[in-house]
């Protein structure tokens, strides 16, 4: 069975510093949720640390949140994740994130290991399509749209927990982040990213190949307390 081959030390150089507070829960309020899903080219093992196993094919998702009315106020988050397995569990591994909102960035980075890269996360809903734009350091690092939207029953959406590489006082760890998500409405349609700066999203030299699908949803999200933290393996077993 294949394992990740990325160097933990290399990955760890940019890992967010995290203080794990037992029982820490954050209600994010109403979250407009948009996702682009693509098959990605290249060595599927090289994106993951040795604790995680790749899927065939590797899938990269760009997920956009615009939150309001929650404990962190109004903020935006854009995150790129790659599909993986932790043991026999379906998971994704966080590659990069941009957070639009300084207070939210600090809390999400320090408590849950999101990258607090500052930027703007813009989401527009129109009658026939939803568009997104992510801007960092005055340049657009991702933009896209989902069109021909079709309503689906909310249960058609499968949310997947995330693994974040974090720097704790005990050293580098893989932390499982478990957003508890209630989906109130769901639409699906072809998703197309017109701009995606691969290097920024930590996918240098790779291409987003086949667009799988796009989806957008109205959700309520609570970040549940951190329950599982793994020591990171030094090499693939």
């Amino acid at each position: 069975m294949l394992r990740g081959t990325a160097s933990p030390a290399e990955l760890g150089r940019t890992a967010p510093g995290v203080t794990i507070e037992p029982g820490k829960t954050i209600a994010l309020g109403n979250v407009k949720w948009v996702q682009f899903t693509y098959e990605v080219s290249g060595d599927k093992q090289a994106l993951l640390p040795p604790n995680l196993a790749p899927t065939t094919p590797s899938i990269v998702t760009l997920q956009i949140w615009r939150a309001s009315g929650g404990e962190l106020g109004d903020f935006g988050l854009a995150q790129a994740r790659v599909s993986c397995r932790a043991g026999v569990r379906i998971r994704t591994f966080l590659l990069q994130s941009v957070i639009d909102g300084a207070a939210a960035a600090t809390t999400l980075e320090n408590n849950f290991g999101y990258f607090g890269t500052p930027g703007r996360v813009v989401l527009h809903e129109r009658s026939d399509k939803t568009t997104v734009e992510v801007i960092s350091n005055d340049r657009c690092v991702a933009a896209g749209e989902i069109s021909s939207l079709r309503f689906l029953e909310p249960s058609a959406l499968q949310h997947i927990e995330n693994m974040h590489l974090v720097d704790t006082k005990e050293g580098l760890r893989l932390m499982q982040v478990e957003p508890s998500i209630v989906t109130n409405s769901l639409l699906r349609g072809p998703g197309k990213l017109t701009i995606f700066e691969n290097s920024f999203w930590r996918l240098p030299g790779r291409e987003l190949r086949k667009s799988v699908i796009g989806a957008t949803a109205n959700t309520e999200i609570v970040l549940s307390p951190v329950r599982y933290v793994q020591e990171i393996s030094e090499k693939a077993s």
Binding site: M1, L2, T37, E39, A53, P54, T55, T56, P57, I59, S83, R85, A86, G87, V88, R89, I90, R91, L152, E153, S155, A156, L157, Q158, I160, E161, M163, L174, Q176, E178, L186, R188, K210, V212, I213, A215, R227, Y228, Q230
Partner: protein, 368 residues
Amino acid sequence: MKFGLFFEISVPRPLTRSNEALAVANTLEQARIADELGFDRVWLVEHHFLEEYSHSSAPEVVLAAIAAQTKKIRVCHGAVVCLPKMNHPIRVAERTAMLDILSNGRVELGTARSSTWTELGGFDLDPDLTKAYWDEFVHVVPQMWTRESFSYEGQTFSMPERNVVPKPYQDPHPPMWVAVTTPGTEIDAARRGMGSLGVSAASFADQEKTVKGYRKAIQSCEPVGKLVTNEVAAMNFLFCHEDRKYAASKGLGMIKTFNRLNTGCLWNREVYPTPSYKTLSNLAPSSGAPANVPNDPTMEKPVAEGVTVGDPADIIKAIKTWETTGVDSVNFLVNCVEQIPQTEVIQSLRLFAKEVMPAFRNKAREAA
């Protein structure tokens, strides 16, 4: 109770040509010995692109070889993925009929619609449409087998009037099955007069519920063909050894590996929001586990209850419990990525045939 072998043709890494050839050769030998030992069926799955987990992308070819080297065992083509981009229904009717002739009427046809994005995406198929494809498919194939002149105008494919030849050896035609991974699919099978081919682990309680629902629904079925296959098959793992500790170490290791490889597949529902796939298929929480399964990423998937790994007495006990749930047959996975040496797999099959089968065969005879 009938017994079968269920082959995925999993291949150990590195995925060399010699390792692929070894896995196929061992499959053929196991099928040949299963025939000699009195097993009832050999099933060969169809999967595409699922490296390591299953290299059985051309099962009809392997089944032809099995048919040629065996005498009695049923040669089960299943589950064939019933999506025209993968298998046109005319081609399935043709090749299944030919295989039935070659095997002197030993073919059974399993049908499925694929659960992974790895496969559907690879063939550029829309997950929303797979059930409609499958349904049309299972209705037309028996007609192609039995009618000298057949034409069709459908939603997913059409054909002008033709005689699809050859016709199967069996009259009216081979039995048909539906692969069941998602709860409720057994009812789809029953309503169409097809067998329920379990291909994922289930608890005793869930299996009993499945069988009850199936038996009730099949009473008022509208058969897709000219015969009704009223049978429920369960899937299990098999490693039989006189030393139960040794059996456990080998057998449970095989299950653990299988679960890990199975998990490596990319399931439709993970990437494509669709009402067409209600669960993560084989990855649906093990029904043998408590409902509040811990979400610990380091935990192994729990081993389902009733696994047929152990000494002959253990296995007889497990199968007798399966019998009480109402299943008619059990199909066994006997190895995974050649983890168990072939000689030990064969010894396990021989011991099962010698010590376990008689406990069920005699009962069948008494009942007869």
